[in-house]
Amino acid sequence: MLEVKNLHVKLEDEGRVILKGLSLTVPKGEVHAIMGPNGSGKSTLAYVLAGRDGYEVTEGDILWNGESLLEMEPDERAAKGVFLAFQYPMEIPGVAGLTFLRTALNALKKKRGEPEVTTPAFMKLVKERGQKLDIDIEMLKRPVNVGFSGGEKKRSEILQMALLEPTLCVLDETDSGLDIDALRIVAEGVNALRSPDRAFLVITHYQRLLNYIVPDKVHVLADGRIQKTGGKELALELERSGYAGYTGKAA
């Protein structure tokens, strides 16, 4: 279970306060959506969960399965099952996709005390999981995300997720920049991973993604706090009326 408790976060550089007492609970087996206007703190929440530098937690805590994540390095969090699908997946020139995936998979296995994956087993796994996301092995022989289209980058994020098998999946605006076909492929990839021991936090600006990844709960994030929590129908309501009621101005 993910428990975010009264989280206050400011940017280290400029000192601007972004999250102002955010609280949230996502039990295993559930998919929660976070919706909110631009600048409400959605991406900050995603980055703080993954442990990116540059954010200072001034108050509150983040617990995953009862354990605080705050003092952990990003790779330790990953070993605990945390995964962030980036809004803007990064390009790594010179590192082949397959090398990257294998290094990550083996690093996680090592931390969890499991044996490393053999080359044939790894290739079989990548082929099988890649196929579902329409990702060819040839694509993974190229440097990570270099020269990929927006859709290819997002599919490659989901492939990483499918291979690393995290238990807390945070998706940051995974729908941005996707056409309807790519959106469907990505959503199917995510849905295939839904399971009783996995929690999802799906961050999005638009309701559209939630037609494909149907959430158990929807939270409205505005001005650094959760303003309202409801069922999936809340997303439709937001689609009709916008975020104006939560920010005091039209979004």
Binding site: A79, M90, I92, V95, A104, L105
Partner: protein, 444 residues
């Protein structure tokens, strides 16, 4: 007015060393006269210093504190098994082999099998028996006037004379090994004369390596003169890996005939001070040059690559890519000059030099120069220096890859782009293995 410049301790030491050993150096009277002339020239020039443009960032006069005694007639025992250890990752290469220990040919370590069309001799023997058969460098000094080459001519003890016949395709690379051994700090001067016949195809690899337990200090002066015949294809590499305290002064002088395709590569690691001078001249139309290098620098090490590509004839192509990783107080220097002479129309030249800085105290000096006297040419150069991207490190770490591994992955990928220029897969693998060893903290 001539101003007599005070000689440094090292300069004085070099002149005295010559007096001490000249009687024991190989070669008859004609060679001895050349040596005497060369040391005289060195005496007049002195060690190169920062007021000489080509040595602006590598002030050898101030950094060379003393002259080590020259290795003469070396007898340090080295077994094949020890040579294999010294070769490290290079031992996996399936190659013809000629070996020199402390600058002296050691025939028992050679391995040629049946290599037809390949002729390999020791320079020392030719200096004595047939100096007139040698390349211009040792006979006609007029075109070489640098102090380092003068020292090489004065002190050279041995080296490989290699001739690949016209149209010969070498089945395996030729590995020319210079291994340092023994407990004394010594100076070594070697020279290779490599000539590749018209239409031939060959891979030549020079390896400067050290036996475990050998003295950490040494001064190496290595010169290679290469002529590539018409339409020949040559891959030429130098791998210089040592313990971090050596002075490695290297010069390559390459001449390409028409339609020749030459790929050169230099790998430098664990050198206290390395100066890699490279000079390449196109002698005929349609020549192709692909020159690249990778260097790894840490502590107070210093690696300088200074090259001149001379487009004297029309229609040739040159590409250079040099990449360095700089840690600690290490320093990387790149000076790349491309000359396009008035007749050299349709020249296509591109050059890139890149440094990855792992420390705030590291320094990178890069000076690309284009001297273009023809009007119908395509030439370009670039240089970059950068640190590891913290966003990329975060991305890797968020996937479970620990910081040290993420850094290694990115450094390997940076340097790998240069190493990928090496055609021979087993040499590529050896260079990546060296890189991994360096990243893991060991120098060799």
């Amino acid at each position: 007015m001539n101003v007599a410049v005070m000689k440094t301790k090292a300069e004085q030491g070099l002149l005295e060393a010559f007096d001490a050993v000249s009687g024991k150096l190989p070669g008859g009277a004609a060679v001895m006269a050349r040596r005497a002339e060369a040391i005289g020239r060195f005496g007049a020039l002195g060690l190169p210093h920062r007021r000489i443009e080509e040595w602006k960032y590598t002030d050898l006069r101030s950094s060379l504190k003393q002259a080590l005694p020259p290795a003469i007639d070396d007898r340090t025992p080295v077994t094949i098994a020890e040579l294999i250890v010294a070769l490290g990752p290079l031992a996996h290469l399936d190659a013809y082999r000629v070996a020199f220990v402390n600058g002296q040919h050691r025939g028992v370590l050679d391995d040629f099998g049946e290599a037809s069309g390949l002729e390999v001799r020791a320079l020392a023997a030719d200096l004595t028996a047939a100096p007139e058969k040698l390349a211009p460098g040792l006979i006609d000094p007029s075109e070489y006037d640098g102090a380092i080459t003068a020292l090489n001519t004065a002190f050279v003890t041995d080296g490989a004379i290699v001739r690949v016949g016209d149209g010969v395709r070498l089945a395996k690379p030729l590995l020319v090994i210079f291994v340092r051994a023994g407990r004394e700090a010594q100076a070594v001067a070697v020279r290779n004369v490599l000539s590749i016949g018209a239409g031939a195809d060959a891979t030549l690899i020079e390896a400067h390596v050290v036996l475990p337990g050998a003295c950490q200090e040494a001064q190496v002066n290595s010169r290679s003169e290469v002529s590539v015949g018409k339409g020949a294809a040559v891959r030429h590499a130098k791998v210089a890996v040592d313990s971090g305290r050596t002075v490695h002064l290297s010069n390559w002088d390459i001449w390409l005939d028409a339609e020749a395709a030459y790929r050169g590569f230099q790998f430098t690691m664990g050198q206290g001070l390395a100066r890699n001078g490279i000079r390449i001249g196109f002698g005929g139309e349609g020549g192709k040059l692909d020159l690249s290098g990778a260097y790894l620098v840490r502590g107070q090490e210093h690696v300088d690559t200074t090259l001149v590509v001379d487009h004297a004839v029309p229609g040739c192509e040159s590409r250079e890519l040099f990449k360095g990783v700089l840690d600690g107080q290490g320093r990387g220097v790149f000076q790349g000059k491309i000359i396009v002479r008035p007749d050299a129309q349709k020249t296509d030249g591109k050059q890139m030099s890149q440094a990855l800085m792992l420390s705030e105290d590291a320094e990178f000096d890069s000076k690309p120069e284009l001297e273009i006297f023809a009007d119908d040419v395509v030439c370009g150069h670039g240089t970059t220096s950068a640190e590891l991207d913290p966003d990329l490190l975060f991305y890797c770490k968020s996937r479970g890859i620990p910081e040290s591994e993420a850094r290694a992955l990115m450094i390997e990928s940076f340097i790998g782009e240069a190493i990928d220029k090496v055609e021979d897969a087993s040499l590529r693998a050896a260079l990546m293995a060296y890189t991994k060893g360096w990243l893991a903290g060991s120098t060799r």
